[in-house]
């Protein structure tokens, strides 16, 4: 209020100055008038601003249930999504990397040698049938497991091993099986392979590494158990089970089969030029789809490769 009085007073004084125009020589009158006008406009603006401030009503209420103010655009939240399988794959890779495993991806077309021979499957062995592999005209194979990368890893890191190092690598990748798709089977899915070789690798270490991985993945302590398995490329071989974690609604006593694992067969090491008398290793491979299915309680694996936005929007 005081401010307003002050401006009004100034305006009164200014108005009085207009009378002086007549006293000035004609050539100065217009310049003088313009200056006065400019000053007057400034004062009027100040007065208006002060009056407006005074006239401001109380704070307008907001409708907290509304998405926007009336006549305003609705704020748009970016709705891009990552594929749930890729999210799980990333989680898995990150844990293994933090545990000390290098990460590299598997290839999506490979050959008989990497699929079978380098993994100690004798030619024509019935165990090969169990993998239901696809084949191209040239005899290439879209791999049926990420183990196709074992031989490459062993060879690639062999020098490192010979220098006294260890091999510790995980390999995520897309794999293929010639089976009809239904709610629980897909011909295309994702796996993650792990390979560890050192001078003194033991089965106990294998169980320790896998137990730790699942504990990190589910963020809780877990019990593990095994059941014997058969893979030509590991010996001993087994399947690893974990007690259903609380995050998945586990109440104790339920077991989930998570992956196949075992001590790398000496022939597999030999074929990659590693002396099985000097070095031991273990390897494992498990499905990523299953992790995602369990996590989100999905009942149909076929959604993953469907590119249905109605499915993907849920993630």
């Amino acid at each position: 209020m005081l401010e307003l009085e002050q401006w009004k007073k100034e305006l009164k004084q200014l108005n009085q100055q207009y009378a002086k125009i007549r006293e000035l020589p004609p050539e100065e009158r217009s310049e003088f008038g313009r200056k006065l006008n400019a000053q007057k406009q400034q004062i009027l603006a100040k007065i208006k601003a002060v009056q407006l401030d005074d006239a401001e009503p109380a704070v307008e209420p907001i409708d907290i249930s509304a998405p926007c103010a009336p006549n305003e655009p609705i704020p748009r939240i970016a709705r891009g999504t990552r594929h749930p399988l890729m999210v799980e794959l990333q989680n898995v890779m990150q844990i293994y990397q933090e545990m000390g495993f290098d990460v590299m991806e598997s290839r999506q077309l490979d050959d008989e040698f990497h699929m079978f021979e380098s993994l100690n499957f004798p030619p024509g062995h019935p165990a090969r049938d169990g993998y239901d592999t696809f084949r191209t005209e040239e005899g290439f194979i879209p791999p049926a497991h990420t183990s196709t990368m074992q031989h490459r890893i062993l060879k690639r890191y062999r020098a490192h091993l010979e220098e006294g190092g260890q091999i510790s690598v995980v390999v995520p990748g897309r794999v293929f099986r010639n089976e009809d798709a239904d709610a629980t089977h897909e011909h295309t899915f994702y796996q993650c392979e792990g390979v560890f070789v050192s001078k003194d690798a033991t089965m106990g270490q294998m169980l320790g590494v896998l137990k730790h991985f699942f504990e990190a993945y589910y963020g809780q302590q877990l019990r593990i158990k095994t059941q014997p398995g058969y893979f030509p490329f590991t010996e001993p071989s087994c399947e690893l089970l974990i007690e259903k974690p609380a995050a998945l609604g586990g109440k104790g006593g339920d077991w989930l089969e998570m992956l196949g694992c075992g001590m790398i067969h000496p022939n597999v090491l030999k074929m990659a030029g590693i002396d099985p008398k000097e070095h031991h290793g273990f390897a494992w491979g498990g499905g990523i789809d299953r992790l995602a299915m369990l996590k989100y309680g999905l009942v149909d694996v076929r959604y993953f490769e469907s590119a249905k936005l109605s499915f993907l929007e849920e993630f």
Binding site: G80, D102, Q166, S168, H187
Partner: protein, 850 residues
């Protein structure tokens, strides 16, 4: 494979403290994955053996009114005055005096157990009260034929006995996963399975008669002519057979324990002889096959009684027992009578030598064949019998003759001719190891004694430093005993170096190397008893493949910042799709055994897969979306990598429901602003080589994207004809980018980042230019002027492009300029100076400022 727990208990002594559940758990953790545990007992409750005391026909029906005696059970049901129970029975074979099986009122008919669970009651039939029912073998779940009621041998049971108890149906059946026993043919016999069960319980298995010595001898009485010739011992390591006179083939009129045993294993009863050979197979894993001797000789021409085992010739035909005629492949093995096929080895006998009512003499075969060949036979002819399942695990040749002998003994048959062709007997295999190797691989501290016991329990013979194990262990402990200062675990340590020599039993065809022995020790003692440990590792960072890192970065940008959905689609696409997007299917690697024509070609790019998913999403009500996929692609054009496999490329594909400019904005934002690589782009000229790489893009409405001077892909509008063939009416755009090119591009580092302390000036500018004039010309001019201004930082932002009509001669381009001086607040005359310099330059470029 179905395993009866009762049968296992018959061979292996299960300590009473081990419950059935504990036993099943142990089997699951140390022998084989148990897929299902089936408790039979609930299916056979309240079913009793009864004696039919009276069976009077009910006039005008096929029914009989029966009075039955269920012994002590009578009192629990509605009794007649004479103390018996009344049942109406429709079976033709019901008669007074027989022992039958009675499903009492309130019991579930076993055949329906686990399904509709049909509970029988007391009800009136033709006006007569019928309490429960007299059951046929089918209703009890042991036959597919509905003919008669089951009759029980009076020497086996008495009225009132529990049916389940008499026939061992208070049993648990384990359905085990065959796959994890692929290498264990011995476990495909119940005896072998039981041996393992004893082993995991830490007990010495008491071998049944047949396995005490497999090296049996059978004298050939030579009362009949028969010769066997194996052409290739790789195909058939051993062929034993015996001829004998066939006793009467009349099936027992009683429901027998054998029939029920077969049923528990998932098999049906056929005839006494076949049933007996099948039971032997279930127990030992060795399948047997019977031929009619006289037919065999006749089929072969009648002169030579000679069995020749050989590889089949392509197209050779044979009618099998099931009536089907097969055409052989060279992978099949044939049993021939002097070269005329009489059986498809390991799979099925021929019709021409089938046992029938006229059969007088039988040739019983006990042989082993190459599992590799039989596996192919199985696949080629689709035969998945219990016998071939066992053969394809590689049954040990060593037991063939012993099983044949057991069969003859069981049948009480006297051989009139015996042949055992076994040219190269398999030797027992010896494997050497030591305690250090065993504990070193498992990560355990097992003692020598426990290792030796574990192996000996399941039939291995063990020698320590050349001496029999038991003696050697005694010597070792003697050696340590006097010193007394040695801690107990040193028993193990002290003998770490002791050479362990393991002689594997003849039935273990899977033992070859040290690791096989270590696996046995680890498994039988339980992997779950190994204490989890962690390997030690050096303090070095673990590396991630840069392409994986780039993909993750792209997901961050595309999903989290640019509002797109990540999808996954199959790597295989149809020929038709490739044609629809105008790609050449011949450049794709083709899958010869694809599931369907939809999944025949390995994709060359990502975009076609994404395009095939647009219509479906439009139909689902999505009209404004962008999705992308990061995945591997390849084509024949890319050639092979160093290790002789197809070169793979990681690509990014994007499909967006928007016009060219929207897609371009996102692609450039991703590459330039987010990844920070150097990008250039040219219009995709019609007919250009690069346009042919992306045939689904509309030339003239798309650009080639170049990163760091290399062609990295293209983006633009999808051709109308492609959209038409995919039935998409909306405007869609697509981008395909090659990730290795982006990965290799250096990142343009932002450096000398300066921020002005003085206020920024904002001015909007609208130009009227010719409708054909490119936007970039004016944008660049303004940019140049601003760059030339000393000590000024600026931002130039396009605001709008306005053209009144499509055929207007001019359009208006609006820009917003924001600039500030690094040294001072800009004065009005300095601002107008800059603006004037810009306007002057723009006018020179042919624009009118409005």
């Amino acid at each position: 494979m179905k395993i009866s727990l009762n049968k296992i208990k018959q061979y292996a002594k299960i300590p009473p403290e081990v419950s059935d559940q504990a036993l099943v758990d142990l089997i699951g953790s140390r022998l084989v994955e148990v897929e299902e545990v089936i408790d039979l007992a609930p299916a056979y409750q309240n079913i009793f053996i009864v004696k039919v005391m009276k069976a009077a026909p009910i006039e005008g029906t096929h029914l009989h009114l029966c009075e039955i005696d269920a012994g002590a059970q009578n009192a629990n049901f509605d009794q007649l005055e004479n103390g018996l129970v009344q049942v109406v029975c429709g079976a033709p074979n019901v008669r007074a005096g027989m022992l039958a099986v009675w499903i009492a009122p309130g019991a579930i008919v076993p055949e329906t157990y686990g399904g509709e669970n049909f509970k029988i009651g007391a009800r009136k039939l033709c006006g007569y009260m019928s309490n429960g029912m007299l059951a046929g073998a089918d209703e009890l779940g042991f036959s597919d034929e509905h003919k008669a009621i089951a009759e029980i041998d009076p020497s086996e049971a008495r009225p009132g006995d529990s049916f389940a108890e008499v026939f061992g149906l208070n049993d648990i059946i384990l359905d085990v996963e065959n796959k994890s026993l692929t290498h264990r043919p011995d476990c495909f016999g119940l005896i072998g399975f039981a041996r393992e069960v004893a082993g995991i319980l830490g007990q010495k298995f008491d071998e049944p008669e047949i396995y005490r010595s497999l090296e049996v001898k059978l004298q050939n009485p030579e009362k009949l002519k028969l010769a066997v010739k194996i052409e290739d011992t790789k195909l058939c390591p051993r062929y034993s057979c015996a001829v004998f006179d066939l006793q009467e083939q009349k099936p027992s009129k009683y429901l027998t324990k054998q029939v029920i045993f077969l049923n528990k294993a998932g098999m049906r009863a056929i005839s006494p002889m076949v049933d007996l050979t099948n039971i032997l197979m279930l127990e030992t894993g060795q399948p047997l096959h019977a031929f009619d001797y006289d037919k065999l000789v006749t089929v072969g021409g009648g002169s030579n009684a000679q069995i020749i085992v050989r590889a089949a010739e392509e197209g050779e035909r044979l009618q099998l027992l099931d009536g089907k005629t097969i055409e052989c492949t060279p992978d099949d093995i044939l049993i021939t009578s002097d070269n005329v096929p009489v059986a498809l080895a390991g799979a099925m006998g021929g019709k021409n030598t089938e046992i029938d009512a006229s059969t007088k003499r039988v040739v019983l075969e006990s042989a082993t064949f190459s599992l590799y060949h039989l596996r192919k036979t199985q696949m080629a002819h689709g035969i998945f019998s219990e016998a071939i399942t066992r053969f394809t695990k590689g049954q040990p040749a060593a037991q063939a003759l012993a099983v044949l002998k057991a069969a003859l003994d069981e049948m009480g048959a006297k051989a009139i001719a015996v042949i055992d062709e076994y040219p190269q007997p398999e030797p027992k295999i010896t494997v050497e190891t030591d305690l250090k190797a065993i504990n070193g691989l498992l990560g355990t501290e097992y003692s020598l004694k426990i290792v030796v016991d574990t192996l000996e329990n399941v039939g291995f013979e063990v020698k320590i430093d050349g001496k029999m194990a038991s003696k050697a262990i005694q010597d070792l402990s003697d050696e340590f005993a006097p010193q007394n200062t040695v801690p107990p675990q040193s028993e193990a340590r002290g003998s770490q170096k002791a050479e362990i020599e393991v002689l594997s039993p003849l039935w273990r065809t899977d033992i070859h190397i040290e690791e096989d022995i270590i696996e046995e020790v680890g498994r039988l003692l339980g992997y779950d008893n190994i204490v989890p440990d962690l390997p030690k590792r050096p303090f070095l960072e673990a590396k991630i493949d840069p392409i994986l890192k780039l993909k993750d970065q792209l997901r961050n940008i595309l999903s989290d910042k640019l509002d797109m959905h990540e999808v996954l689609t199959y790597s295989f696409v149809s020929r038709r799709l490739l044609q629809q997007v105008e790609q050449n299917p011949e450049e794709s690697y083709k899958i010869i055994n694809s599931i369907s024509p939809e999944l025949q070609c390995f994709r060359q790019q990502i975009v076609p897969s994404l395009l095939s998913k647009v219509r479906e999403n439009l139909k689902a009500g999505y009209h404004d979306f962008a999705f992308y996929e990061l995945n591997q692609v390849t084509s024949r054009k890319l050639g092979l990598s160093d290790d002789g496999v197809p070169e793979m490329q990681d690509h990014l594909g994007i499909v967006m429901l928007a016009d060219f400019y929207h897609l371009k904005a996102k692609v450039l934002e991703m590459l330039k602003a987010e990844l920070g690589v150097k990008v250039e782009y040219n219009v995709l000229a019609p007919g250009s080589k690069i346009a042919q790489e992306y045939p689904y893009l509309e030339p003239g409405r798309a650009i080639e994207v170049r990163v760091n001077g290399c062609s990295a892909g293209a983006c633009g509008e999808v051709e109308k004809s492609v959209r038409r063939s995919l039935k998409i009416t909306e405007m869609i755009t697509a981008a395909e980018l090659n990730l290795p090119i982006i990965l290799d591009a250096p990142i343009i580092k932002k450096h000398d980042i300066v921020v002005s302390r003085y206020p920024a000036v904002e001015r909007d500018l609208t130009l009227r230019v010719g409708a054909d004039a490119p936007f970039g010309r004016f944008y660049e001019r303004i940019n140049q002027v601003m760059q030339a201004e000393p000590e000024t930082i600026f931002k130039l932002e396009p605001l709008s492009i306005y053209q009144a009509e499509a055929d207007s001669a001019t359009k208006n381009l609006s820009f917003r300029l924001k600039f500030s001086d690094l040294r001072k607040t800009l004065a009005p005359d300095e601002i107008s100076g800059i603006m004037e310099r810009i306007i002057k330059e723009i006018r020179l470029a042919g624009a009118e400022v409005i």
